[in-house]
Symmetry: C2
DNA sequence: CTGAAAGCGCTTACAG
DNA sequence: CTGAAAGCGCTTACAG
C-alpha cells in the first residue's frame, strides 16, 4: 500500500521516467497534454515523490535544522512554533535540535544535518555565536542566526531593535511616574541580551537616572530569585524593574511573591519578549513584544535567499509595547 | 570539504565498497585486521555514512516524527525535550510536527514522514486518537501514543496513572483540612483528560464529597478564566481546586488574581503535570508530577520494540506529588 | 518535447 | 571473509 515509484507511474502513463520527473519539477518543459495526463495518472495512483531519493540525487533536502538551547523556554518554544509554520509553508520540515547548553552540540547537529543535505540552518543561540566556527560544518553562509553576530558578512541575522524595546519599556514606566527603575538581565549570553542591558544603561543615564542592575553578575538559572533577594535588601528600593526577558520576569515576580512583595502593588515589572503565556501569568505581564511569527518567516526568507546565491542580510525588526497588568502608576 | 563517499574510502583502503559498508553495519562479518584498517582509513578521511543513501536503500531512516498539538504548551515542550534526548541517545533525529489543532495535520505529517521512511512515529494528541485512522498511513502498529487509546492492540501507549494522580492531589488537600474541593478540567479532549476528571468524580464521592466541576462545558482556551469567574460567583466557595493540568492551573491563578483572590491565601490550587516552570510561577505550583523524561525514553523503547517485530505494549507510570506553595491548610 | 543512460551513496543477496 | 552486481527512487545533461 506504499506509494508507487516513479517507474510505476511512468509505466502506467506510458511515458518515460524522466517525463514523470519533469512533470513535477519542471512542468514548463513538458507538453501540456502529456503534463496533464501524467499528473492525472500519478494522482490516481496516489503517487508522491520520495523526498529522500530526490535529496540524494540533487544534494538538497527539505530538512531544516532549528537549533535552540532549550525548547522548554517559552521564547524558544514560540520561535519553534513560528519557524515550523514558516518552514511548512515553504515545503520544509523542521528538525528540532536542542543543544541543552552543550557547547559542541551545535556543531554536531550541523554536521548531521549537513550529511542530510539540509539546504540551510537556523540557529537561536544561547551565547554569542561566531559563524566562522561553523564554516567548516559545510553550511558556509547558509546560516541564519536569531541574534546579532560580530562579523556581519558570514551569516544572515534577524533580531529586534533592543534599544527601541528598552526605550518603550522605560517610557511606559516614566509615564506611570516611576523614576527609580532597575534592570535584571538574566543569564543569556547572546549579543541581544548584552544589547538590551547596554541600552538600559545608556537610556537610564540619558534620563538622568542612575542605572541599578540587579543580579549583575548572575550565573545560571535563578536570576529572578537572586534579583528579588537583592531588591528586597536595597535601602532605596526602585519602584519598577525591567527584565531582560519574560522568563526572568516570571521568576522575579515569583521570587518577589515568596518574599511578600506583590507586583504591581509593591513594584512594577516589565518583561521583554511578549510571550503569549504572559497573558495568563499572575499578574498578566506587561512586556516588550517581539514579532516572533514574523521573525520566523523572515528567517526562512533570508535563508532561502543565500541558498539561492543571494547575499547575507541583517533584518532588525521593531518591537511593540504590550501593556498588561504588571505595571501601575507609582504612588 | 564535504565528507568522502564510500567508494573513496574503499579506494583509499584498498578494499571493495561492500567491505567498507560491512565494517560499519556488520563488523562481525569482516576480518579483524581489515575492519581496523578500514575504520582507521575512514576516520582519517572524516568519513560519515550518508543517512539519506542508507535510508533510501534500506527503507528505514533515523527520522522520527513527534507530533504535538502545540509546542508552546509547556507540557508538550517538556515532552519534546525528553523525546529529543531519548531519540538522540538511540541515534534518531526528532522531526517536530506541530498540528495546531488541525484535524488533518496528523495524517499529513504521517504521510510525509512515511515517505521519508521514518521507522515509527510518536503522537501526543489533543483529542482522542483512533489508531485505526492512521493504519493506512503506513505506520501500522509502529506508532506510540502518549495517551490511552480505545482499542489497545493497535498502538503502544505510555501514560501516567490518572486515578493515582488525582488521589495524590486529593489526599494532600484532605491532609490540609480541605473538604470542599473543586475541579477544572481544561480543554484537552484526550482520554487522559477524561480519566482525570472521572477519577476526581469517583474519588470525591467515595470520600463523601459532592463533586464541583468548574467550567464543566468549557470550550477552547480560557478555561482558567471561566473557572475563576464561576468560582467567584459560587455561594459556597470551595477552599481548594484541582486543575486537570498545569497550564489550566496557571490560568486559573492568574484569573483569580485579577479578581482579587489570592492563591493560596483564598483558595489552594493543585495542578497536574509537575512542569519545571511551576517552580517559578507565582506562587510556585503544587502539582502532580508526571515523569516526563521517563515517558520519553519508554516511548522510544516501545516504538523500537514493535518496529523490531515485538508486540504492542501499554505502560502506565506512577505520578508523584510535588508540593510547592500554592496549597495551604484551610483556616 | 521526450527518451535512454549515468549516477547520487549506500546495502545485500550471491558467488567464490 | 571479500568482491562484483543489482537496485533503492530519483534527476539531468545529452541526443534525437
Amino acid at each position: 500500500m506504499s506509494t508507487p515509484s516513479i517507474d510505476e507511474v511512468a509505466a502506467a502513463a506510458g511515458v518515460h521516467r524522466s517525463t514523470v520527473s519533469r512533470a513535477f519539477s519542471r512542468p514548463e518543459a513538458v507538453k501540456r497534454e502529456t503534463l496533464e495526463h501524467v499528473r492525472q495518472v500519478a494522482a490516481a495512483m496516489g503517487y508522491r515523490m520520495s523526498p529522500l531519493a530526490q535529496a540524494l540525487r540533487t544534494k538538497v533536502s527539505t530538512l531544516v535544522p532549528l537549533v535552540v538551547p532549550d525548547i522548554t523556554n517559552p521564547y524558544f518554544a514560540e520561535l519553534a512554533k513560528a519557524m515550523t509554520a514558516a518552514a511548512g509553508e515553504r515545503g520544509y520540515q523542521l528538525v528540532l535540535c536542542v543543544t541543552e547548553n552543550d557547547a559542541d552540540a551545535t556543531a554536531r547537529y550541523l554536521d548531521a544535518m549537513q550529511a542530510m543535505y539540509a539546504p540551510f540552518a537556523v540557529i537561536a543561540p544561547y551565547a554569542r555565536v561566531f559563524p566562522a566556527e561553523f564554516e567548516s560544518r559545510g553550511f558556509g553562509k547558509r546560516l541564519v542566526v536569531i541574534d546579532r553576530v560580530e562579523s556581519g558578512d558570514q551569516a544572515s541575522t534577524v533580531t529586534v531593535d533592543s534599544a527601541a524595546g528598552i526605550a518603550l519599556a522605560l517610557d511606559h514606566l516614566f509615564e506611570l511616574g516611576h523614576t527609580s527603575i532597575a534592570y535584571v538581565s538574566g543569564i543569556a549570553g547572546t549579543h541581544t541580551a548584552a544589547d538590551r542591558r547596554q541600552a538600559y544603561r545608556t537610556l537610564a543615564e540619558k534620563h538622568g537616572m542612575t542605572p541599578i542592575e540587579l543580579d549583575s553578575n548572575g550565573i545560571g538559572v535563578g536570576a529572578g530569585e537572586r534579583a528579588a533577594e537583592e531588591l528586597v535588601s536595597l535601602r532605596e528600593r526602585p519602584t519598577a524593574v525591567i527584565a531582560g526577558n519574560d522568563l526572568v520576569a516570571f521568576g522575579l515576580i515569583s521570587a518577589l511573591g515568596s518574599r511578600g512583595m506583590s507586583v504591581p502593588g509593591d513594584v512594577s515589572v516589565v518583561g521583554f519578549d511578549g510571550l503569549a503565556f504572559g497573558a495568563r501569568s499572575n499578574p498578566p505581564l506587561t512586556s516588550v513584544q517581539q514579532p516572533i511569527a514574523e521573525m520566523g518567516r523572515i528567517a526562512i526568507r533570508l535563508a532561502e535567499q543565500v541558498a539561492n546565491g543571494g547575499s547575507v542580510e541583517h533584518v532588525v525588526l521593531q518591537p511593540q509595547l504590550l501593556v498588561r497588568s504588571s505595571t501601575r502608576p507609582v504612588r
